[in-house]
């Protein structure tokens, strides 16, 4: 974790209300892993006192750049769209714990809902560099919100679902998952919480449906693995990147917690944002 000045190199509105910004921040580009995030302060501290967390959408060590992808939802994100090329802003990062891909996993299933693309996008790059095969399932409200193919690596299989059927599968992205369950060695998801909850449910019953329950390959966070440990994630079939309203982003304020199955709240910024799906308590209404 470092506090670095990041210079805006390029900003593009890639979709209506959605922006992709490229920043020059060599320390973050080389020192981060897929799934980690940065906490970025706005320059308007009189009104906006909290920094904004953004997933590191892509990181390019060669050029020392990272990108962030966000939707303008409020005054904070609006502020970022008013930045001009050459402006420098403070970024704290890389923060949180990354996705952990098991060394034996060759087929990775990435599932993104809407802005959740930013959470799994860099894992696609990382997996392809590691010689793995990637299928990316993407869900959006309609065709106008579908992430452009031009911004994705050529090597991945990209499957789209839209709620209104205007592009690809007509329905939720979670409905596409069963077709890929047998193929996938591991799955990685980011998106709205109902989507993640549905995926966690599918992951629990997956072995039964596939009839591979006793095939020797041990999946699932073991009892001995500490919550938030890399091993707990590496052994899990499904890893999810969680979202929560955040204060400090370093684990000090305890603002951004989700309830864990162990009965203790887990900090999204510190134990997460990537969790093994078994670590999260999906039932109950604590904090919903």
């Amino acid at each position: 974790m470092r506090l670095v000045g990041a210079e805006l190199l390029e900003a593009r509105e890639i979709l209506p209300g959605q922006w992709l910004q490229t920043y020059h921040a060599p320390a973050l580009a080389t020192g981060s892993r897929a799934g980690q995030f940065v906490h970025v302060r706005t320059g308007d501290l009189s009104g906006l006192v909290l920094p904004r967390p953004f997933s590191i959408n892509t990181a390019d060590p060669a050029s020392g750049t990272i990108t962030i992808h966000f939707r303008t939802v409020g005054r904070g994100t609006q502020w970022f769209t008013h930045l001009r090329t050459g402006d420098t802003i403070d970024m704290l990062g890389p923060l949180g714990r990354p996705f952990e891909v098991d060394a034996r996993s060759q087929h990775l299933l990435l599932i993104a809902g809407g802005l959740g693309m930013a959470g799994v996008r860099s894992l696609a790059d990382e997996a392809i560099r590691g010689g793995r095969q990637v299928t990316l399932l993407f869900g959006a409200a309609s065709a106008r919100d579908v992430y452009p193919t031009s911004l994705l690596p050529d090597e991945i299989e990209y499957v789209v679902a839209t709620d209104d059927g205007s592009m690809g599968h007509h329905g939720f992205v979670t409905e596409l998952v069963p077709a890929y369950e047998a193929w996938a060695d591991q799955a990685f998801a980011c998106g709205p919480e109902p989507m993640l909850k549905a995926l966690a449910g599918l992951a629990v019953t997956r072995r039964g449906r596939l009839g591979v329950a006793k095939l020797g390959r041990k999946r699932g966070a073991g009892k001995g693995d500490q919550v938030g440990s890399p091993a707990a994630r590496r052994k899990a079939f499904l890893q999810v990147s969680m979202e929560q309203r955040m204060g400090c982003a370093v684990g000090a304020c305890l603002g951004c917690v989700v309830m864990g199955t162990s009965g203790t709240p887990l900090r999204v910024c510190r134990e997460g944002p990537v969790f093994a799906s078994e670590e999260i308590e999906w039932e109950g209404n604590w904090g919903r």
């Binding site: 974790m1 470092r2 506090l3 302060r41 706005t42 501290l45 009189s46 009104g47 906006l48 006192v49 909290l50 920094p51 904070g76 403070d90 704290l92 929560q244 309203r245 955040m246 204060g247 400090c248 982003a249 370093v250 684990g251 000090a252 304020c253 305890l254 603002g255 951004c256 917690v257 989700v258 009965g263 203790t264 709240p265 510190r270 604590w286 904090g287 919903r288």
Partner: protein, 381 residues
């Protein structure tokens, strides 16, 4: 002139009334820790010796004494602390912040038993501030001591443990378990908690309850005892006086202001706990008012907290009588701010030709000439 008059009062015979002791105790409270008493140098005095002039090269700049004696042996190396709940246990910001340059760390609120805290959402941004309702999530006093005590003992920076409880017995038991542990420089009581034994009324809103818990804790420990005032009261002065009389070594003011935010669908309040505490620049005028009021009625040091984001805010709080300030919400936006404020305060003293920051304290308080006056003290909403 202001400073000069204050000095004259402070070095004169001790006042006998209750209204004036602020000045007397302020002097005793901020006597430099180790060095010999530096001569007071009135701000704006005509003749400043050459050696006291700020050096352009910066190398041999005037040494400024930033230390502050809170009482009972607690000497802070400088008057910039970090506020409870915004800095965890001091380790979270890692190498981004050099904790040993801080004046003090108030750690996350600690209770007798572990608490899982409130449902989410727990934080939300509001204009110029934020609401939080963490709900005192913490692992319990025993775990805190086990995990951090040795680490804190190795630090130069004093660590003040913020203590919360639901009954007087809770507070006393937590403090007993902290007493004598290495690395614990003092106690800060968060009395803005519901008193379960008395129908859930907060300790902080009732002078008798606040004094009761302060006195009980005072009997249980010799550690320096700070008590954090709540702004959610009609008149904070009788409460502050009662706490001071009950044996507190210092007061911190203020805790967060109670507030709510409404959820995006407007079907319910946004925070999981409905109510949250407002902090940040939005509450700074309220904090200034309360520090201003409290400093005139108590004779123990007051540590200000409320929306500090820059040096000007620190100087404002000093001017209304605070001997030190805590930085809270602003840390989230800029973790390096507290350490930078230390440097900036030192530089500001050098620019003014001061060898100590103490002549900046209380300059905006009502003047005390002759018999004490209540003028300017009344609260006019």
């Amino acid at each position: 002139m202001k400073a000069k008059r204050r000095v004259a009062t402070a070095t004169g015979p001790l006042p006998s009334t209750r209204r004036t002791p602020t000045v007397r105790k302020l002097k005793s409270a901020i006597v430099p820790a180790r060095s010999k008493p530096a001569p007071y140098r009135p701000a704006g005095a005509g003749s400043v010796s050459a050696s006291a002039m700020p050096d352009a090269a910066g190398e041999s700049a005037l040494a400024v004494d930033l230390s502050v004696d809170i009482g009972r042996g607690l000497v802070l190396p400088n008057p910039i602390l970090v506020a409870s709940g915004t800095f965890g246990y001091g380790i979270e910001y890692g190498e981004v912040v050099d904790v040993n340059r801080l004046g003090g760390i108030c750690c996350k609120g600690t209770t007798l038993r572990p608490r899982i805290g409130n449902p989410t959402p727990r934080v939300t941004e509001t204009p110029g501030g934020m609401l939080n309702s963490i709900g005192l999530q913490n692992p319990g006093v025993d775990a805190v001591v086990e995990k951090y005590s040795a680490l804190w003992a190795a630090w130069r920076v004093p660590v003040i443990v913020n203590v919360a409880g639901e009954s007087v017995g809770d507070y006393v038991e937590v403090v007993r378990r902290l007493d004598g542990m290495p690395g614990i420089a003092g106690i800060e009581l968060n009395i803005s908690c519901p008193n379960v034994g008395r129908g859930g009324l907060q300790f902080a809103i009732d002078a008798e309850a606040a004094a009761g818990v302060t006195a009980a804790v005072r009997r249980a420990t010799d550690l320096p005892l700070l008590v954090k005032l709540s702004p959610n009261v009609a008149d904070v002065r009788p409460i502050a006086r009662a706490i001071a009389d009950a044996g507190a070594d210092a007061l911190t003011a203020i805790n967060t202001l109670s507030g709510i935010a409404v959820g995006p669908t407007r079907e319910r309040p946004l925070l999981g706990n409905i109510y949250g505490g407002l902090s940040g620049p939005a509450i700074r005028p309220v904090a200034l008012r309360i520090v201003y009021e409290v400093c005139q009625v108590v004779d123990i040091p007051v540590i200000a907290i409320g929306g500090v984001t820059e040096l000007a805010d620190v100087l404002d709080f000093l001017a209304v009588g605070a001997v030190a300030v805590q930085v809270g919400t602003a840390i989230f936006a800029d973790p390096t701010l507290p350490v930078r404020l230390v440097d900036e305060l030192e530089a500001a003293c050098q620019t003014r030709g001061l060898t100590s920051y103490r002549s900046l304290i209380g300059t905006a308080l009502p003047k005390r000439t002759g018999s004490p006056s209540s003028k300017g003290v009344e609260y006019r909403p």
